[in-house]
Amino acid sequence: MSDDPLVRVDDLHKRYGDEEVLKGISFEMDRQDVQVLVGPSGSGKSTLLRCVNRLTEFQGGEITLDGTPVTEMDVDDLRRQVGMVFQDFNLFAHLTAKENIMLGPRRVLGKTEEEAAERALDELDRVGLAAQADSYPAELSGGQKQRVGIARALAMDPKLMLFDEPTSALDPELIGEVVEVMEDLAEGGMTMLVVTHEMGFARAAATDIMFLDQGRIVEHGPPERLFENPEHERTAQFLERLTRLHGETR
């Protein structure tokens, strides 16, 4: 069982009305893989991510998590197993950092107040924000918000973490602290599917990079090959441009 890939995406199709945004995507992820998705605006990266935890429904193909098709899983159960980090954080505005992290364990996993609080403080400590436990989102910087967002997802003990452009809404000087946390996670063996323009992260942590354009995979492979020796001129140009814009943040 554990030899199976954790995630298998097979010939995935997704339409909004008449517009097909994903036109047959297939790939696999083993445990502890870090899959980085890159591609221009409108290429379908975020949609692909949202198909995995069914924040959006798809029309064709199949996605399996641990061998079970996600469409056959209870949707709440699926999301319990898959954590997600959003571009604009989406921290619950009326809850403190600690309470943000506690909400899922309390209401979904049924943990007690004390258990949830203890876990929340551990996760805040892991992302270096123990001191901000009682701050409200509006009192945190963007980088701090995103680290709380990551801690919130981690507190559910997910099998897989989805990152939807986690640094795109951040000021340049705040990107580093978030990328650092993500690299620690990757090193610790978390399975991660990451949409990002951070080429520094991709080089350092990715097992594979996937280049998506207009709903199709253009190229897919380990970072060394895609950076040094891509098959397609388009891949080379795109990665080169990203590296120029987003590569040297630290």
Partner: protein, 322 residues
């Protein structure tokens, strides 16, 4: 800002899993919209015909008489027994509607005259509140007084509490003769004008405050006086922003004009109540009156929605709204 907005991604719609599907809402709404316009056109066509008939001394049928005799409608019930109850109610409506329509005319006049007279007063109050010092305090007192006490109490003070006011109107030439209404109507107009000026003034003030202060500064910078900047730069923007709030006030006034019945103004509610106590058919008459008020309210808000669309400044969202 939604997730996809930053990079103009097609992924922007990705929240579709949790949001209701917006796509199906479009055509349905427009179909309901068409229905509303057809119903509105039929209603108003009939209302205007009715008013026209009675004003011109009964060109089609005698004044106050139905176009279709109530007996005919009741006869419908005899023909189709299942519908007897409905036909009976309809026949009743057909009998009383012509009279209620004339009362509704007074409701419309009360509302339109009061809100129109209240408007300049409201602009002055709003300007005083936003820009004045002592006048600002005076305006605040006026607004708080009229918004903090029941409208019914205001009408009673004016009509029963200050006997010289109705007496003043009664002594004016022509009042209560021919088409000029009696003094109670004039007192009601005074009450509604003052009350609606207070509310309209607050909506306009909110809108003035929502105009970027830089606009006033820029007006001063091109050499306009403060008054000129307010008049030519701030107000043209603010009055547009004030439309949704102002529509609320119009709707409010249509409904609350019914309170004039308590100071003997023979408007829609007054007449419905009078017929009801004659016939004891309270349900039918109050439902009829309610439907007519509802028709006025829906018409007014649709009209104002249209006006709002027409005067909208391209590219400028409606900042305030309500």
């Amino acid at each position: 800002m939604s997730a996809g907005e930053a990079d103009g991604d097609a992924d922007a719609d990705a929240g579709g899993g949790v949001a209701p599907d917006a796509r199906t809402a479009g055509p349905r709404r427009s179909r309901a919209g068409t229905l509303k316009y057809v119903a509105g056109a039929v209603l108003w066509g009939w209302v205007l015909l009715r008013w026209g008939n009675d004003w011109l001394g009964g060109v089609f049928v005698p004044r106050g008489q139905a176009f279709v005799p109530p007996a005919t409608v009741a006869g419908l019930g005899d023909a189709i027994p299942v519908l007897a109850g409905v036909a009976n109610g309809l026949a009743f409506a057909v009998h009383y509607l012509p009279n209620l329509m004339n009362a509704m005319w007074l409701t419309v006049v009360l509302t339109v005259v009061s809100i129109t007279l209240g408007f300049p007063l409201a602009v002055a109050l709003a300007a005083a509140r936003s820009y004045g010092h002592y006048t600002g305090w005076a305006a605040l007192g006026f607004v708080e007084l009229f918004r903090g006490t029941p409208l019914l109490a205001q009408l009673f003070v004016l009509y029963y509490g200050l006997p010289w006011l109705p007496a003043f109107f009664r002594n004016l030439p022509f009042v209560g003769e021919g088409i000029v209404p009696a003094q109670a109507v004039w007192v009601a107009v005074v009450g509604f004008t003052l009350n609606s000026a207070a509310y309209q003034g607050e909506y306009i003030r909110g809108a003035i405050d929502s105009v970027d202060p830089g606009q006033l500064e820029a007006g001063r910078a091109v050499g306009l006086s403060k008054l000129g900047s307010v008049r030519y730069v701030v107000l043209p923007q603010a009055l547009r922003y004030a439309i949704p709030g102002w529509t609320n006030e119009l709707v409010y006034l249509i409904k609350y004009s019914s309170l004039a019945a308590f100071i003997t103004v023979p408007e829609l509610l007054y007449r419905a109540q009078a017929f009801a106590s004659e016939t004891y058919r309270y349900t039918e008459l109050f439902v009829l009156a309610g439907v007519l008020y509802l028709g006025l309210v829906v018409t007014a808000s649709s009209l104002m929605g249209y006006v709002e669309g027409r005067v909208a400044i391209p590219g400028l969202g409606n900042a305030e709204g309500r």
